[in-house]
């Protein structure tokens, strides 16, 4: 695979950032966008714009078709059984809120348990916490092992006959651990427990097959998949979307509205209230097609190479401690440097154009467990090269020099 030519498809790298070439190592936060995606938004607004689904004029019909084409592309990309199992949201956070809210309303009662893990992002904890307050449910956390992984045993240990749903990340945005989702789903289903997967870090980096994974819900953010901001996907098995109540109310999601009552529309409208993020959905199709063109296997392979190279180089540096050592790991390296706070690392690296993230990465539970208030994190995307990692390593040296280490 020719990374140089792939990288050229991302206009951001044509520009200097404060006189430096951009070394973008913050893709777990949000990825950069290829030209096809940016152009699609531009063209749609310039030549084709209309709201979808509501008017019968030419532009509206065309926009509606484009909008639905993205649904078909997402279905294909994640191998969902039915097009109507794809619900568009504004992001993964909303997708998880949607499930927690509607599943919680219908199925959770006082004393019931929701099982999460210590690796979860706040977006996969706070929505469940709301139910702890309103419904008096309990939240359990499967514990990480020394390597920063969640094993199937860790899940098994926490399942009780009160466990009503399991909600876990596909790939940790801190340790990079890839969870054994298929095994978790099998175990859960053997006890009739549905499983939500927070696929924020899974979807951009791993081959997905909903029918094989067999999870009940899968949440995706478009902006981490080389797509626009403001667009996400909730995959949910049709039986759940038929069964659960609607989430937001508004235009487009209804069937019949009377003063005395309302009947809701069928799938996929039921969960898409109000004017949706039309342009973003339409442009997201280009992200999917871009990833298909590159090939998810190639993306996985490339990012694995970068990871191995990065772990090797940073591992040789005695001042650096890498957080977590999972056997099955995605392109994320979180680390600390004894004597330099991660925020200072990030600021100093930034001066060389190296963009990383520092902090708790919305994973305070994990950081508390690791007894680390903050970590620095380099995360990879399809456009990264070994040169980027060399620059990272060199800038870390600069950082040590400033701090006299």
């Amino acid at each position: 695979m020719d990374i140089d030519s792939i990288k050229k498809e991302f206009p951001i790298f044509d520009n200097k950032v404060q006189n430096n070439d951009l070394v973008y190592l913050d893709s777990a936060n949000s990825s950069q966008k290829p030209r096809v995606v940016i152009d699609r938004i531009y063209d749609f607004y310039s030549k084709e714009f209309s709201n979808v689904g509501r008017s019968v004029h030419y532009l509206a019909v065309a926009a509606t078709n484009l909008y639905e084409n993205t649904r078909t592309s997402v279905q294909r990309y994640i191998n969902a059984k039915d097009k109507n199992e794809i619900v568009f949201t504004k992001g993964a956070t909303e997708a998880i809120n949607l499930v927690a809210n509607t599943f919680g309303q219908k199925y959770l009662e006082e004393g019931d348990e929701v099982l999460l893990t210590e690796l979860e992002h706040h977006s996969n904890y706070v929505p469940w916490h709301f139910l702890r307050n309103s419904k008096k449910i309990k939240i359990e956390f499967a514990e990480i092992n020394e390597a920063g992984e969640i094993t199937i045993e860790a899940i098994k240990n926490k399942i009780t006959n009160k466990t009503k749903i399991i909600s876990v990340t596909h790939l940790s945005n801190v340790t990079g651990a890839i969870l054994p989702i298929k095994e978790i789903v099998e175990l859960a289903h053997s006890k009739n427990i549905p499983v939500l997967v927070d696929g924020c870090q899974g979807a951009p980096h791993l081959k997905l097959d909903m029918q094989e994974l067999d999870c009940d819900f899968y949440a995706i953010s478009g902006h981490k998949m080389y797509g626009p901001t403001g667009i996400g996907v909730l995959y949910a098995k049709k039986k759940w979307l038929d069964d659960l109540p609607p989430y937001q109310g508004g235009g487009g999601m209804i069937n019949e509205v009377k003063k005395t009552g309302i009947s809701y529309g069928e799938l996929p409208n039921k969960y898409e209230a109000g004017t949706m993020a039309t342009a973003q959905v339409i442009a997201f199709n280009e992200s999917i097609k871009f990833m298909e063109k590159v090939g998810i296997e190639n993306i996985e392979k490339h990012e694995k190479e970068l990871l191995d190279y990065g772990l090797d180089i940073l591992g040789k540096n005695n001042s650096i401690k890498i957080v977590g050592n999972p056997k099955n790991k995605g392109g994320v390296i979180s680390f600390t440097i004894e004597g330099v706070h991660p925020h200072d690392i990030a600021t100093i690296l930034d001066e060389d154009g190296v963009a990383i993230r520092a902090g708790h990465h919305c994973c305070q539970i994990l950081h508390e467990k690791l007894k680390l208030p903050a970590t620095a994190r380099a995360s990879f995307g399809i456009y990264n090269t070994k040169d980027d990692i060399d620059q990272l390593s060199q800038s870390i040296e600069n950082c040590k020099k400033i701090f006299n280490i």
């Binding site: 509501r54 019968v56 509606t64 109507n84 069937n255 529309g265 069928e266 799938l267």
Partner: protein, 154 residues
Amino acid sequence: MDLKELYQEIILDHGKNPRNLRKTENFNKDAKGHNPLCGDNVHIYLKLNENKKVEDISFEGHGCAISMASASIMTDLVKGKEEAEVKEIVNDFLDMIKEKEELQNKILNEDEKTKLMCLSGVKQYPMRVKCATLSWHTLTSAIDDFQKIVNTES
């Protein structure tokens, strides 16, 4: 696209003066259809005799010229047919609107088919397809005794 193909004389005629726009007495099957996008409604009443033949069919409702004409022509054509035949005609019509060039069934005669093909102009107007198919989906529900309201938005 050509408006004249969509709004042919026969469509305008059936749209303005729909046949069978009434309620069958002693109907034994019925179903309601609704298009939430535009608010079109149709209620189909069916009377099958002991041999499962359509003794009478009628409809009530309101909608655009296309949807009224479609219901009108449909009710005209299926009257006197057997239940299994009706189903075949319905599926054939829906296939034609969706993707097929021609009607395939051997139940309708050429004149009847020509009449039905007048509705094919709608294929060029994707948002209007639902107008043409609402009554047909609703007829299927009536036959199958689906209690659910048919909804063509999805």
